[in-house]
Symmetry: C2
Subunit: 273 residues, 2 copies
Amino acid sequence: MTETDAPPHPFDAAVALTPAADGRTRSRTRPEYANMVGPFGGVTAATLVQAVQQHPDRLGDPLSITVNYAAPVADGDFDIAARVVRSNRTNQHWTLELTQDGAVTTTATAVFGIHRDTWADTEIAMPSAPPPDAVPVQGFPDFVAWARNYEMRFVRGAVPDQDAGEHPDSTTTLWVRDNPARPLDFPALTSLCDVFYPRVFLRRGQYMPAGTVSLTVYFHADAGELAAQGEDYVLGTARTHRFSRGYFDQTAHMWGRDGTLLASTHQLVYFKG
Amino acid sequence: MTETDAPPHPFDAAVALTPAADGRTRSRTRPEYANMVGPFGGVTAATLVQAVQQHPDRLGDPLSITVNYAAPVADGDFDIAARVVRSNRTNQHWTLELTQDGAVTTTATAVFGIHRDTWADTEIAMPSAPPPDAVPVQGFPDFVAWARNYEMRFVRGAVPDQDAGEHPDSTTTLWVRDNPARPLDFPALTSLCDVFYPRVFLRRGQYMPAGTVSLTVYFHADAGELAAQGEDYVLGTARTHRFSRGYFDQTAHMWGRDGTLLASTHQLVYFKG
């Protein structure tokens, strides 16, 4: 088998799109990225980014995306409708809908745009962490299929054991990359932004029903900065500000090993317990 | 003039909606809330929240909203189309479009839902600040009309003078409330989430073209917690994580004087300079 005959990376297979009716594109859930109910939300978000990335009208790099998980995506085919709402000189606004048999499961809005040279500064500090090789690989419980596609090395706040008890804070910091390794691009970074397990599990030291309701990613890096990461690890750090009455938020930052802040990402999560 | 004949609070006038064709609602920009170009983005976001709040199909309290500012809203009338994408047992997903003469200027998605009693904790600390009465009132330059509708008492990071020079960090912390004072509700809190001037002005010590591209609010407080704030001040604190190549992000937290974390809010801002 020559190299060009090699099967695609599981992530590329998961975000692959084919043309469908009415200008839509079609994709299909993959068992490799299954979550408890439906597919891993990170891959759904990545597929939406991919739908704009490969759209002929796309302008520039992704700047932001918000994905709303309205209903579980069932195993099987789904369609994505991506519509340009407005193209300005340097940025472009999109709305997206993911449907199955005509029913909307997921909505999104995205902003793409052109980068320009300006004054620049990263104001927050990268968390201090030992190099990835010095941190043991430690994953999720085996029944979480999607997590097996990520090599995770927890610096702080690993998945708690069932009898872990309460934890004083919700911070998880980990080195993470695709497994097998794969060059970083916008869809892959989008998916990594959702790689953190629900913060309430860490605080409470137990599992309970929980799921992302809405996810936002701000892409700080341009395509060149992402390409410069190659297949290297990303350092992700996530925490919650407030848990209250069935919902909590999460803010995370994704750092390149070279100290580049690649993305800031926020989500609202429901929980029961 | 009896009390019931009193003119409405300027904020209530600004977010007022009347029925329009095709199930839309209509509103109108107000000179009191004008920004440099078009209306203050906070009031636009608040009007979108209001459109769902008073929709007959609305379920529960706002949990999150993302507003994308695709084009300036011109002075005059505008229409809002609010569509329920999906109603689940405890939450409800909305998409919204603000149009003028059929052209979309603003898109949004929102999640509303029912609160339930659960384990709860606020993990971050409220910034320490002197009481509002001990902090002088200090506004924006007079040409920013909308800012005159807010009483601002800057604890840290006030609007820089034109010759201020560079500032080492982007943090602004202020006590703020409507002027004249008005009971806090979800639209008013939404608007307060956008009350921070562009962080790049503070860092660079100068004004330059800048504007919000996308704004997200996570509402941590339920209706009861908001009502308990009455007309009291809110302590807002905002900062940027990274400025790069024409864009920066902003994360802010809005605290009740009683220590309740009312909202976490994030935005992506373009700038030129």
